[in-house]
């Protein structure tokens, strides 16, 4: 089962190395890890997806907290939250198959961001299942190259770093 943790960390040199080194040393199995800026200067945010069948999320959290540069960790497992992955997919699209690809892009609400004579680059954002499924239908056409960002996630409702337990108050799913 996948388990998502969000960590706010100080934006200092070597922080990613500290986190990666911890996971390696403790043999924690991670599925993906993304890092990026936040609304606060000097604070970065990591979204860490672990396979909780193999790695105990509480152990990961407790060990992450031991890193001096880790400010706060939120476990999104029991939280209503929004999770997104972004993929860029280069597909083979000779003129005779191009309309087929474009129909699929339409159905999945993806976007074509680059076109050449025989290939297209498609950008798609969504939860992991949606992207997996899109990639699957593109496979027979010919996926030439793909990159995925890994999951980014945010709990609904109160913001991380604020007081309170941050449980999502909203229940409307806005797409």
């Amino acid at each position: 089962m996948q388990h998502t943790l969000v960590a706010l960390v100080e934006d200092k040199p070597g922080v990613l190395n500290r986190v990666a080194s911890l996971f390696r040393r403790r043999a924690f199995n991670i599925e993906s890890l993304t890092v990026g800026h936040t609304e606060q200067p000097g604070v970065s945010r990591m979204t860490i997806v672990i396979d909780s069948n193999q790695t105990n999320a509480e152990r990961v959290t407790a060990n992450l907290y031991k890193l001096v540069n880790v400010i706060q960790i939120k476990d999104l497992a029991d939280q209503p939250s929004v999770m997104r992955d972004l993929a860029l997919i280069k597909v083979s699209a000779p003129p005779e198959r191009r309309s087929e690809v474009m129909q699929l892009v339409e159905v999945y609400r993806a976007r074509i961001v680059d076109v050449t004579n025989d290939s297209l680059i498609i950008e798609i954002t969504g939860d992991v299942d949606k992207i997996d499924s899109f990639v699957q239908v593109l496979q027979p056409i010919g996926v030439l190259e793909m990159v995925r960002t890994g999951l980014v996630a945010m709990a609904r409702g109160a913001a991380l770093g604020q007081n309170g337990n941050g449980n999502g108050s909203g229940n409307g799913r806005v797409q």
Binding site: E10, G14, N17, L22, N63, Y65, L67, V68
Partner: protein, 573 residues
């Protein structure tokens, strides 16, 4: 504001942290630090290998001297510290290691004596820093000491580029609160957890306290005693917990685990409640986890949340400072009476005393337990004992009884051979009024024996007991028990340790019989400088009792009955 160089800022901060002694070795990349040192009230102990500096700083800290400081230059100087830093890390010892780094413009270009020491020490430090901006240096030094000593203590490394040591700025020491938003050393348990713990304690019929090094780290010795006495709960000690409660206290059972006395482990296995205080259920104390204390509920007093449920799942975790939590818990606990349970434990002792080799008559052979028992008697149990790793360590733990805390120092978690001599030197610097004994095997002593020259040059008086059995004894013992006595690479020859001592201008004494022990100890005590006694002990003696690695804790290999020993000894003659 006054102008300071980076190097001066380092010393300004060290002096304000109360540092009076540093252990180190100069080199190209820390020349500015060493130059500035001459203007500060600092005693520098020049080591012979940087590993020794780290162990000395560690021994200094363990003996109660506060944060220990080790210094080294870049590259090989820094990498030589690593074993000592890892040793301190494994046993939560507060050490600050300060290394010189090549100048900033060379970092990343494989310059002469450049090494990525912050990368190398990442997994064996509590935190580390590479400082390339002199404006950050003062704050980094303050943070380093604060992190090293607070919460669960541990080593912190500060790597300072050479040009940062040389750079000058207008600077003033600031005492402002540190900005460490991610560092929370002061966690407290909920009232609910404390109440749950109190209720488990009140219901228990067969409780045992497991006391670890955290007792001394927290300074909670008196509170432990009060708790044990009020609840009439016997106390088993981890190796590093020795000294947390006086050995002679009637509720102190002694050491648990792989080489703990059989009744201690049996008591743990039969307990219905374990109250763990500042210990981490290491594999050397639990034996096979699946069969560990199967009937016991477990309460875990622990400052490091990541230790909770790591090895052994517990029922109640009290995260935070042990002393604070005991102080809060004590008023919630009514006195208990466990006389039946204490009697049961007494019965578990069975014939252990008969099997105890220290009670064996003297028939010419010199056994290590005899030597250490005699050393305990002759020093009235008041010395600081720093043991190395292996059989000597276990015998020292079993036969030198400590009534005071911070007097038994050993590398428990990492099990670093070569620890004893340098750590003893560090301990002596921390507590110069104490008699200090390093106890080492012939193998471990040779790993860091160069530090004898350090003791000689610095005029540091310690005593060294080398237990020479001509083997890497603990490995030999495992080969005897588990590898059909195939002694692969364990026989080890030694130089003449008496001459080695004398070559350093120190006192060397050899003991081959028990009758010589007292005179030798007295001679060592009276020697003006460091004295080395080489005890020629029984070659193939083993440490008993023993729980084989991974076996059930109660499945111990008992010490043979003295009759068996006497017979085999006779047949040798």
């Amino acid at each position: 504001m006054t102008r300071y160089t980076g190097a001066q800022i380092v010393w300004e901060c060290l002096v304000r942290e109360g540092v009076t002694t540093v252990f180190g070795y100069p080199g190209g990349a820390n020349l500015p630090l060493y130059d500035a040192m001459l203007d500060y009230p600092i005693r520098h102990v020049l080591v012979r290998h940087e590993q020794g500096a780290a162990h000395m700083a560690d021994g200094y800290a363990r003996a109660g001297g506060g944060v220990g400081v080790a210094m080294a230059t870049s590259g090989p100087g820094a990498t030589n510290l690593v074993t000592g830093i890892a040793t301190a890390f494994a046993d939560s010892s507060p050490v600050v290691a300060i290394t010189g780094q090549v100048a900033r413009q060379f970092i990343g270009y494989d310059a002469f004596q450049e090494t990525d020491i912050t990368g190398i020490t990442l997994p064996v430090t509590k935190h580390n820093y590479l400082v390339t901006d002199v404006r950050e240096l003062g704050e980094v030094m303050r943070e380093a000491f604060y992190i090293a000593r607070s919460g669960r203590p541990g080593p912190v490394l500060v790597d300072i580029a050479k040009d940062t040591q040389q750079a000058e700025i207008e600077w003033e020491y600031e005492d402002t609160p540190l900005r460490l938003p991610g560092y929370r050393p002061d966690r407290r348990p909920t009232a609910q957890a404390l109440a749950q713990a109190a209720s488990l304690i009140q219901q228990a019929k067969r409780p045992v306290i497991l006391a670890g090094r955290g007792v001394m780290q927290s300074g909670a010795m008196e509170l432990l005693r009060e708790f044990a006495e009020r609840t009439r709960t016997p106390v088993a000690m981890t190796l590093l917990g020795i000294g947390g409660m006086p050995a002679e206290h009637p509720l102190n059972l002694g050491m648990m685990g792989m080489h703990g006395e059989a009744w201690v482990n049996q008591a743990i296995q039969q307990a219905d409640l374990l109250v763990a205080m500042g210990m981490r259920f290491d594999d050397r104390v639990t034996g096979k986890r699946e069969t560990y204390a199967p009937e016991a509920k477990k309460i875990h007093f622990e400052i490091d949340a990541s230790e909770v449920n790591k090895n052994i799942p517990v029922d109640v975790a009290l995260i935070g400072d042990l002393g604070d939590n005991l102080r809060e818990l004590l008023p919630q606990v009514a006195p208990c009476d466990h006389s039946e349970w204490l009697e049961t434990i007494d019965e578990l002792r069975g014939d252990s005393a008969v099997r105890d080799i220290k009670n064996l008559p003297d028939y010419g052979h010199l056994y290590a337990p005899h030597a250490i028992h005699d050393l305990w008697r002759l020093t009235e149990g008041k010395a600081i004992v720093v043991s190395d790793v292996g059989q000597n360590q276990m015998w020292a733990a079993q036969y030198y009884k400590h009534s005071q805390p911070y007097n038994y120092l050993t590398s428990g978690g990492l099990g670093t051979m070569g620890f004893a001599l340098p750590a003893a030197i560090g301990a002596k610097c921390a507590r110069p009024d104490m008699e200090v004994w390093a106890i080492a095997g012939d193998g471990g002593f040779q790993m860091t024996q160069a530090e004898l020259a350090t003791a000689a040059q610095a005029g540091i008086k310690i005593n060294v007991a080398i237990l020479n059995n001509g083997y890497l004894g603990m490995v030999r013992q495992w080969q005897e028990f588990f590898y059909e006595r195939r002694y692969s690479a364990t026989p080890i020859s030694s130089p003449d340790f008496v001459k080695i001592a004398e070559a350093h201008g120190l006192t060397g004494i050899r003991v081959t019989e028990r009758s010589q022990v007292e005179a030798a100890v007295r001679q060592a005590q009276q020697a003006p400088g460091t004295a080395v006694i080489e005890f020629m002990i029984e070659q193939e003696d083993s440490v008993y009792p023993m729980v084989p690695a991974g076996a059930d804790l109660h499945a111990m290999i008992r010490r043979p009955l003295p009759s068996a020993l006497t017979e085999s000894a006779d047949s040798d003659l």
